[in-house]
Symmetry: C2
């Protein structure tokens, strides 16, 4: 005899503390919302952990927490974001993402319907990417002790032999490429938060980049030095981190950096610089100079890299500066973000 | 030139939103608090992910979120708990835990000193267990949108060939063992919350069990059917879940279940049943009958299994009941927890 179960009321129901306390209500929430949305053989076993096929090659592991506000935004939601972001951090190593885990921290009173929508969106993103969510966890905290729902995903991938990308790999003379326009995700969130409209709706670029990175590795292989998804802190933070870690400098050209006109306009209005704004479906790549054309072509041939562009070069610089030639021909140091903040962007 | 850094003020300083925004303040927080505490080669690379040596055998992956309140409690804190809990879920598969990830969600205003203490405790627990924290993430949310700090850890382990433990593996006739006294962790938390004293201080049993499980596998090998750490919902939830998943029943004997006198007294006072109270350093094991003595001896020879006990048997039962002979000789069905809750125990 299975435990008696009333159907979860995903129309009007709300999460309560019993959904996190290890009893029947929790088992039902997990089955009806999470396992239903993520459905796969690993979850169906209901063990405390998932047992996975061993993979050839080195492993790659990563984690990110997602606290984005609002939970639903133009172009995505916290669920799809939490799948894409973690896949991308694996892909940036040149690895093939294989498995995800998902840990939910839910505020008491959160609408079951919204939780279901988020779980479905995660499941959809995970299936579209071919990377299953094989294990999870659910905790519930009292009203006022969280903000709707927070999700932490972790991911495991496999790194093919011979490939070694790391943030200390940039060499003077290398080319710096981006896969498309900068700032879309952060501006989509801010516009929604501030209830702004800029003619064309600004959508988050949230996307899983492992297909693009596989194409890039196929084309450029060993000539690839570093890949990085410019998330929090944007392109500016990514470049500065790599400058320090590789002990080099960068010269980039503002005119070459793709920024959508509506994103530029919104940034102007919001007092933001698109170089500091988070992206969730873009990457920056550094490659040996001779591979630049090949790599750019491979990127542009992929749907998520159509607007790929060469934006500058790695230079010798003991100060590890990121120098930018501005649209007006002047020069400017692109430092790390220090003053203003964009909290809860991802 | 490295970015200029003032030292973090871990005496009086507090986390602010800039510590989560991808800029210099975040880099400093991660370096001075987390990498300092967890120090290892993977973190030192500062990549978006950790690259790990490939392991022989199948992989095991798990995750848990930790929202325990209070953050510091007798016998542990959220940091050590988040290491032990995730290690244990890997160990319950019979696997060797290898790597951990840690995702932090921190409330604005949280004391840097407390964060440092938690990180140090995680680092200590991880080193003591020999399982490094190889990658992490840090998010900060506004005051009032979280409760101090939440941690989600994920873990990866390696499963030796030939071993296959799963919650559907219990067979009628099998023996049911526990590694020690039930209820210590939950009661330690509740006593601290309610400011109760019971003569002897009640300490959480929080501990990493992979040494004990390795000893058990060494002794009993293929005769082991299921291992489970009875966390939220306690022994009662663990037995009921396995009963359903293996389609069996259990008969257990209350007199044989170890419960410390001070825990029994506290449960009495708090209106709790120790069978439903969370443990964080105990396991329940089910084994083929002929291996019972060998397994018990192996458990008792390990410091974390000294009070191991045989508490009952698996029986054929289509209703999947857990039946208990009480201390007074009566019979009782031990159902899942349904009514009262113990929120934020882990
Ligand atoms: N949000 C979720 N999405 C997918 N699977 C989940 C989710 N929450 C829990 N699960 C799955 O449900 C099962 C039970 O999870 P549970 O957290 O109760 O186990 P546990 O980690 O052993 O217990 P505890 O969290 O109390 O330590 C596991 O198989 C787990 O992977
Ligand atoms: N709490 C933490 N403990 C240990 N390491 C951490 C922690 N937070 C971040 N790190 C490490 O710091 C580095 C930078 O992390 P960060 O989160 O900025 O990278 P990212 O995931 O690529 O960016 P984002 O989170 O914006 O997507 C990584 O190497 C990460 O493992
Ligand atoms: Mg990331
Ligand atoms: Mg769990
Ligand atoms: Mg990244
Ligand atoms: Mg657990
Ligand atoms: Mg991160
Ligand atoms: Mg468990």
């Amino acid at each position: 005899m299975k435990p008696v179960r009333r159907k979860l009321d995903t129309r009007n129901g709300r999460v309560d503390l019993s959904h996190g306390s290890g009893g029947r209500a929790m088992a039902q929430l997990i089955a009806d919302i999470f396992h239903d949305a993520f459905d796969n053989d690993w979850l169906r076993r209901n063990d405390d952990q998932a047992t996975l096929d061993a993979q050839e090659g080195r492993l790659v592991m990563t984690t990110d927490g997602y606290v984005v506000s609002p939970l639903f935004f133009p172009g995505g939601d916290i669920g799809s974001l939490s799948v894409h972001g973690t896949i991308n951090d694996i892909a940036m190593a040149g690895a093939t993402p294989k498995y995800l885990s998902a840990s939910f921290i839910i505020e008491e009173g959160f609408a079951l319907g919204d939780l279901k929508r988020i779980a479905q969106s995660m499941g959809d993103a995970s299936r579209a990417a071919g990377v299953p969510i094989v294990t999870g966890d659910t905790k519930v905290v009292e009203r006022g002790k969280a903000d709707g729902v927070f999700i932490s995903t972790a991911g495991v991938g496999v790194l093919p032999d011979g490939l070694s990308l790391s943030s200390d790999g940039a060499r003077p003379g290398d080319a710096v490429l981006v896969s498309g326009s900068m700032g879309d995700h952060g501006v989509a969130i801010m516009s929604r938060r501030e209830n702004l409209e800029f003619g064309v709706e600004i959508l988050s670029d949230s996307a899983a980049l492992h297909g693009l990175t596989a194409a890039m590795i196929g084309a450029a292989g060993g000539a690839l030095r570093v890949m990085r998804d410019p998330t929090r802190g944007g392109l500016a933070a990514a470049l500065n981190e790599i400058a320090h870690q590789s002990n080099v400098g960068f010269t980039i050209n503002e005119e070459l950096i793709p920024v959508k006109p509506q994103v530029a306009a919104a940034c102007e209005f919001l007092g933001l610089d698109p170089l500091y704004v988070a992206n969730e479906g873009k990457l920056m790549a550094i490659c040996a100079p001779q591979a630049t054309e090949t790599l750019l072509n491979a990127m542009r041939a992929h749907p998520l890299g159509r607007e790929a562009a060469l934006i500058g070069h790695v230079v010798e610089d003991e100060r590890n500066f990121v120098e930018m030639t501005t649209r007006f021909g002047g020069g400017r140091i692109v430092d790390w973000l220090s003053g203003e903040q964009l909290p809860r962007i991802c």
